[in-house]
């Protein structure tokens, strides 16, 4: 047993802390004040690319699966290394962290399911990007959120193409992305068995009506809705090719991605919760509140619950890196961490009192930001359903 980060992860966290203090937090506060996402042509994104950010973990030309770079995602430290990084970035500003250029959530799906040609075409530009580039991942629809089996965006084969019709919603970085990984269904009755993933490239005819949503918090990145109207996608952009789905692997593609993501989202929530805790502690210290037992006890609880949430996220990530089943642990982390983050921010608001009501304090922003974490990647309730399926075989319907 060892709970100490390796040197590489510690160094990365230190680097991200400096970046966070100098840039992420000020940018996040500015976006919150202006009420709009950071523009894609903001110099911050270009500077990130110069710093080596926004790249893919995939490396071309090394065997059938491609190779992950050891620094970013070695076979033994990939998910853990990532969650330590996202926790730190989220500590400074989770909204800005999501706005970072890069292939995003679609990367894992392409690496896991994509053909060699698809990896080259869609991840190749992210190996050494010439400019900030984004990939986007589109599952959620107006009528299907956590219940991904209910998506209704349709796809039908038409010669060498596929025709997509439907609407997607709350999709991160969609309007600025080089490509969007769109999940559609050949037949809704088949549930996830009917799902197909398409890499829809920017400018594809029929892809449009981008609308950036107005949100309660996390304003630094765009959450976008868009439509697909007889959107004609080449068969070569069907992720994994036809054969992949015929071998029934298709249903597991999205789930595998989500499994890896839940500890990640939990770690983000831990970072936000810790930020709220620290800001509340500073306020309490500066206003002579630390000597009050009632205040101290509540900080103790937040600190303890955050520690538990972080350990749960770490364990789920460690299991993922060991390629061991982590369904229960991932859902536990995801169920716990967002609730604690909100509790931390809410305690901060209480301590701030009317200062919190002004609407211009970081704690107030974190209070609005944190709520989203209990919704994205499956609500807290969905996580409990998943855990209960594992524990008591809770029926699906």
């Amino acid at each position: 047993m060892d709970l100490e980060l390796d040197r590489q992860s510690r160094d990365r966290v230190t680097m991200l802390a400096a970046l966070g203090r100098d840039t992420l937090r000020p940018l996040g506060l500015e976006a919150d004040r202006l009420g709009r996402p950071i523009p894609a042509d903001h110099e911050f994104f270009a500077s990130l690319v110069e710093l080596g950010q926004g790249r893919t973990r995939w490396r071309p030309g090394h065997g059938s699966g491609g190779r992950e770079s050891g620094q970013e995602a070695g076979r033994t430290g990939g998910t853990l290394a990532m969650i330590c990084a996202v926790e730190e970035m989220s500590y400074w500003d989770r909204g800005v962290a999501v706005a970072f250029p890069g292939p995003g959530m679609g990367e894992a799906a392409i690496m896991g399911m994509g053909t060699e040609d698809q990896k080259q075409r869609f991840l190749g530009p992210f190996v050494e990007p010439d400019r900030p580039r984004w990939g986007s991942f589109a599952m959620t629809e107006p009528g299907a959120g956590s219940d991904t089996s209910a998506i209704s965006t349709s796809c039908r084969r038409d010669g060498d193409d596929w025709i997509l019709n439907g609407a997607k919603m709350f999709i991160g970085n969609a309007s600025r992305a080089d490509w969007i990984m769109v999940w559609a269904t050949v037949d809704r009755k088949q549930g996830r068995g009917g799902h197909r993933a398409f890499v829809v490239e920017k400018g594809t005819p029929g892809l449009g009506n981008f609308k950036i949503e107005k949100k309660m918090g996390l304003k630094a990145y765009e959450s976008t809705s868009f439509t697909l109207e007889d959107c004609c996608v080449p068969a070569a952009n069907l992720l994994g090719g036809e054969q992949y789905y015929q071998s029934r692997e298709g249903t597991r593609g999205a789930l595998r991605t989500f499994n890896a993501m839940r500890p990640m989202v939990a770690a983000m929530a831990v970072g936000m919760g810790r930020a709220a805790q620290d800001e509340a502690l500073i306020f309490a210290r500066d206003n002579g509140l630390l000597d009050r037992t009632r205040v101290r006890d509540r900080f103790e609880r937040i600190d303890r619950r955050l520690a538990a949430a972080r350990l749960l996220a770490w364990k789920a990530a460690w299991l993922a890196d060991k390629q061991l089943p982590n369904i229960t642990e991932a859902s536990m982390a995801k169920a716990l961490a967002p609730a604690v983050a909100l509790e931390a921010a809410s305690l901060g608001m209480e301590l701030l009192g009317e200062t919190g009501a002004r609407g211009d304090h970081l704690v107030e922003k974190l209070f609005r930001d944190a709520k989203a974490m209990d919704i994205v990647e499956g609500t807290g309730q969905v996580q409990r359903v998943i855990i209960a399926r594992q524990l008591v075989d809770l029926p699906r319907s």
Binding site: M1, D2, L3, E4, L5, D6, S9, R10, V13, T14, L16, A17, R21, T76, G77, L80, C84, E87, E88, Y91, G271, R274, D278, L281, I282, A284, R285, L290, R296, D297, F299, E300, D303, R304, A307, A308, A309, R310, L311, L312, W314, K315, W318, L319, T328, E329, M332, A335, L336, Q381, Q383, R384, V385, I387, A388, L391, V392, D393, L394, P395
Partner: protein, 345 residues
Amino acid sequence: MIDFSTAPELELLRDTAARFASDHLRGNAREHESVRGVTDAAARAWRDTGLKLLEFPGENGGAGLGALARVLVNEELGAADPGATLALDSSATGLYVSAIHPAQRVVVVCDLESRLTVAGGRLSGSLPWVPADEPAVVAVLSREGAAVAGAPKVLEILRGSGLRAAGASAVNLDGVEVLSQWSDRAAAATALARVRLYTASLLLGVMREACEYSRAYAVDRVVFGRPVAHHQGMAFMIADMAMAVEACRLLLHEAAWKLDRGDSDAAAVCARALVEACEQSMFVTPSALQLLGGHGFMQDHPVEKFMREARTLSLMAGGVDAARDDGGAALVDAARVEVARTGGS
């Protein structure tokens, strides 16, 4: 490098404890409660496991193992019968204060509010409950140090709320001779951290058992046409119970790991783990009873015992509020100096 795996030698210890618990404690729990102690066969088997001297230094015939080993073993023992564990293992608990009486029934009292006094080589004061019928030795751990004293006067043999297998009595310590004594605030803090971990890991075991027993019942028992566990209100409760156990286990393992490394924040982290164990045990064990409904209230099932054991265990080790004080003080004291404002793990 973060690694949640357990070393093979610790796995072996845990398996030994689990086997002993299964063979000698779990099935006899009601009998041990009624006789206020353990059967001779269980006591003999316990001696044979070699677990009794887990933390004793090698030169004293012990295994010289650390806090993590203790936590792993206690989860197994606590799951089967925490009262019987105290009856069997009380001298090892005493080790945390002093290793001078490995063979005697020692009761450890965490006196964090100066209820007892030591003057002229004698103790004074009384205790309304100790988990033994006739303790041979009382080890009093305070913030300043420890005093090991001889047998107190038993005022009354008590029924006890929980942990009945350990026995229970009210004792008077007036004039009881102090056999040995030491003063060292840092050592006392470490000793207290060990007692807290000891108690918290027994609580973890109780919670785990309560979870598993009630889960199995809720899967079998059909109400309103389907298993109790398949009603979403119950399913969510079961999920939350399992989550509480896992979170508690991780905090405990972290605390033990830090204590074994000698980290400067280990004592505060051990206090934190005890608070978590106490709080969650008062969610998990009553919920387990709730899942069984009326059956849970009856002594035909062990869940009412889980609830009593958890409530009593969480009164020990100086109490949860003292642990909350210590964990909270460490946090706000650090904040008084500086809030780091960085992630860093």
